[in-house]
Symmetry: C2
Subunit: 354 residues, 2 copies
């Protein structure tokens, strides 16, 4: 028996090339191990998470995490099922367990116990939530909005990349916490309608509309108290120009700049001084000790219907991952972008557990 892996082979220059024969990645087929080492589990990957941060993992610069090495399996998190357990881990895992796994881009993975975590799904939840609203993107939205942004009653909150997995949760949390006005920026009319009609944003601006700057101004008559930035570039700049006195700018991501050969900095920077803006970058890992509290809040809001989520699941198996990642930077998704590596119907007689 063998399975497929996707190997990082060539540094992007600067955009990712999704071709599996001549691009950034290559497909490799390897044999499935006959025996699992004593302190490992063998998992089968079902859903692979695609995240904007991935482009940064391919840049050999000082960052919050080591870059992926050329020749390694591409890094990534997944929802997977345990299919074999090493002799010393049998008190902790059993065949059929569903886990979130730091599996990387491959169909199977042999992992130590620190690389997997059993999925606990709350009422109203589903397993893929553990990759999104109850996983890294939900936690990123939670800590970014509440610990960094700190919206107060009466605040105007603006979120960019608002129809993405993190942005949609961030905006809803601001609303749950009593922000007066939550405005989202997203690409295209459909995404904007979704934000206002489905998620309850007070306004949404299509940044592809020629007059988006004017719309942003009109949508923020009392300026911007909290800006949750997922995109950087022109939109960050336009929001800085609308910064309210003592505003908080949560620098979560800069998807518009990840593929730029020469990134663009915010030119309305003088407002940082005149309006006493605090711009703060953060990485969700720094809040690891508070994950349990955050997950309790997120699960409770989800169960109560206060927090809605959406998934964008690409079929086609592992080999569709590079193209889907490129599409993510193009804004193809509304909600959490995932690859279906293996459907749940193929699960090891344990479908009911998922």
């Amino acid at each position: 028996m063998s399975y497929n892996q996707i190997i990082y082979t060539t540094a992007p220059s600067p955009a990712i090339d999704p071709s599996l024969t001549s691009g950034t990645f290559r497909l490799r087929t390897v044999p499935r191990p006959e025996n699992v080492p004593a302190r490992k589990v063998l998992v089968r990957v079902h859903y692979l998470s695609l995240d904007p941060a991935m482009r940064q993992w391919l840049t050999a610069k000082r960052s919050y995490i080591e870059p992926v090495k050329i020749g390694d399996v591409m890094r990534g998190q997944s929802i997977a099922q345990v299919v074999a357990v090493g002799s010393e881990l049998r008190s902790k895992f059993e065949v059929g367990d569903w886990v979130t796994a730091y599996s990387g881009w491959q169909e199977y993975a042999v992992l130590g116990e620190n690389a997997v975590e059993k999925v606990v799904i709350p009422p109203g939840g589903r397993p893929t939530d553990a990759l999104s609203v109850l996983g890294m993107t939900g936690l990123t939205a939670y800590f970014g909005m509440l610990e960094v942004g700190q919206p107060r009653a009466g605040d105007t909150v603006v979120v960019s990349g608002a129809a993405g997995a993190t942005g949609m949760v961030a905006g809803q949390i601001a609303k749950i916490k009593g922000a007066k006005r939550v405005v989202g920026l997203a690409g295209g009319r459909d995404k904007c309608d979704f934000l206002v009609k489905e998620l309850g944003f007070d306004a949404a601006i299509d940044y592809k509309a020629p007059d988006w700057r004017k719309q942003l101004k009109e949508a923020t008559p009392e300026y911007i108290d909290v800006y949750f930035d997922n995109v950087g570039g022109d939109i960050l700049d336009a929001c800085l120009a609308r910064a309210a006195r003592d505003s908080r700018f949560v620098i979560c991501g800069a998807i518009s700049q990840y593929n730029a050969a020469k990134p663009q900095g915010p030119t309305s920077f003088m407002n940082v001084i005149s309006q006493r803006v605090t711009m703060k970058g953060f990485i969700v890992f720094d809040f690891a000790k508070q994950y349990p509290t955050a997950l309790r809040d997120l699960a409770s809001w989800l169960s109560q219907g206060k927090l809605k989520r959406k998934e964008h699941i690409t079929p086609g198996g592992l080999r569709s991952a590079p193209k889907a990642l490129v599409d993510l930077y193009g804004g193809a998704n509304t909600g959490k972008m995932m690859i279906e590596v293996a459907p749940v119907s193929e699960a090891l007689g344990a479908k009911s557990k998922l």
Copy 2:
């Protein structure tokens, strides 16, 4: 009797034109009032403060302070002497008192009591200190470094515009508070020598040297924990590229960008996220309630010789102000830039009080 004023007449586009016949400002001669209104004082200006922020006061954009109106006397602070007191203020002021005054650019000014403050000079101080180390620039350095930057023992602190009135105090305060390493950026060898030899900076980098980026890297082997920014532009960008984890970037000024038609934003902005940088703008006025404590500290450090200062006083009277302001943006000064409007020798029989 008459006196001169400098009137703001034409918006800079974008640089200030110092000509008094065809430039940004015009000279106007007005009669000295015969009688001072009951709740006013008449002051004679001796030293006029020139500050980088002045360029921003001439931009008709939302800012921390209303712009100067075309046709008004140019705004500015000075050291002045009271030469006449209105009938209802005689219990508070007497002729000969030295005051800091929101006089604007003129030789005499009729001011309400809120626009003047009596100068109190501590041991080892001199009256012009009330415009610099014991005035706005000293306070700006104090709150920016201690409240925003919060240097800790062991930190590497970098200050740009380090030979300017604010920068030199900011760097020395970091040293007083136990920073491990204080590095200044300034323009030219003389300023750099001054920082290291006179003020005790650990290193100084001449940003006009072709290899300044390399020097900055070498001078910050453990990266930058606190960056006190007076200049913006390329230097801010280079410091962001050297940001340490959880570093604080104090955004105090951006003198390199004030005259730019299209300001330049920091392109190493991704480091804000990966290194969890906090960038915070501030305005000294926000700390007004804490001025007394700050002035006590600053005066005490000055008296103990822990804090050194330097002045750059331009002779030539009021009409030299526009040219000196342009020179300030060119970096002509080491230390606090002031105009001698009237020498102390001409003071109203009260020289000994100054």
